[in-house]
Amino acid sequence: MLLFHGNRKQLTHLPWFSLILTSETTLEQTLKAIARAIRRIPAIEVFVPKDASDTLYIYARGKEQDVLSLTRIAGVQEVASTERLIPNGKDEPLVNRTPITLPDADIQQMIARSRQLHTERQQTIKRNSFVRVRDGRYKNYCGTVTTLKHNQATVEITLFSRTLILQTPTANLEVLNLPKSQQTYYATQTTDTQ
């Protein structure tokens, strides 16, 4: 997922920084706070490698002071930096921190891979596929695709008490290859699919 605000062309010459998050359990709240905060910044982009197993690191590109301002958000621990100790003649030396900049080529490679996975996921979805919802209010609910039209799918989610008909973009779905007996709406939690 790539969150951005403003004109991204202004960012091409700027370096990327790595932001360290405090915990992956609060990832959603942290990303929500980041998304709200970057609305106030004229131009910035934040790449969240959600498909990677390690989501404690996200990457941001913008003016250095804008990126550093994100560390004030609860859930963002710090910007990855080098530390240099400067002796000052007293017991405690001063610490000089310099944020580490990352080469654009490396990050663009990760973004390209993420986009590729995003596209591939959509291509595997067919009518009658058993799928998991990836985001939104119905995240992790599973159901069967009943119709597919213009990158929009209709998913039938059978709960115990009723049936939910969810219309969602196909990119928000992920195919689960499970035997019929395991195709329940909470299948993600009963099988090793994540």
Partner: protein, 260 residues
Amino acid sequence: MLDYAYWNAITDAASEQAYQQTGDLLDRLIALEQNQDLPDTNPLCSYETDPNHFQLGPFSFAQEHTDEFLQLLDALEPEAKDLVVGYYLLRKKQTTLGRIHQRSQVVVGCEIAQATQQMASAVVLSTHPTQDQLHRILTDAHMDQITIHERLFSLSELAYRYLTTNNFTELTTAYRIRPADLRKQLKRASVRLLASPDLTSTALGHLLRRLYLRSAPRKQQPQALTSKTVTDPAILGQHDINVADPNLECLFESGSEPTH
């Protein structure tokens, strides 16, 4: 036969205390159902905010013993099953479940608390207790024979019939009992059983309390929803997301906590 070792440890050590702690929430639900003034409890108190709740164990039980957890769902009604699965297995917040099932967070919290107690009862009494089982426990507690308007009834028989038919009106009609009188007897028995130090009696106390709550006359009939259509915004399918998008908040409303 289920291996209840883990769950027994929970029920033995923590459930009774937890039942008492969530009692005020049940009182709130009763008050809501009967359209009475809410009891004087902390309005911020919810099942989620109770720190002891997290020591109870249903979360870890659901994650680590999922098959056994799912078998216990047999003791619940369909709507309660959905809430319990959403809360303990899919790890949704009560507010999110409220939006999905069109209930307030307070009602969702109460329903989950009750369902959890019912599952704990099911651990002790099995998911489908027999009439003999109920009869034995109530007889031991000297509570099986009840008198309503000078007529003698077997509480185990009435409770068992209600459990199997799930129709309070039919039950009261068949036995020619005023619903309010039977509700009073169910409440009285549940209160006495809940005060008992015996785990089996406590479990039955919760079962009877559940029946008492279920039998409450409702001003509004629950919505008979068989299916519901919902539409997600297009932003959920995008890889590059402009934070100026008006539907941005939809991305962050899953209410799911990672389980690993």
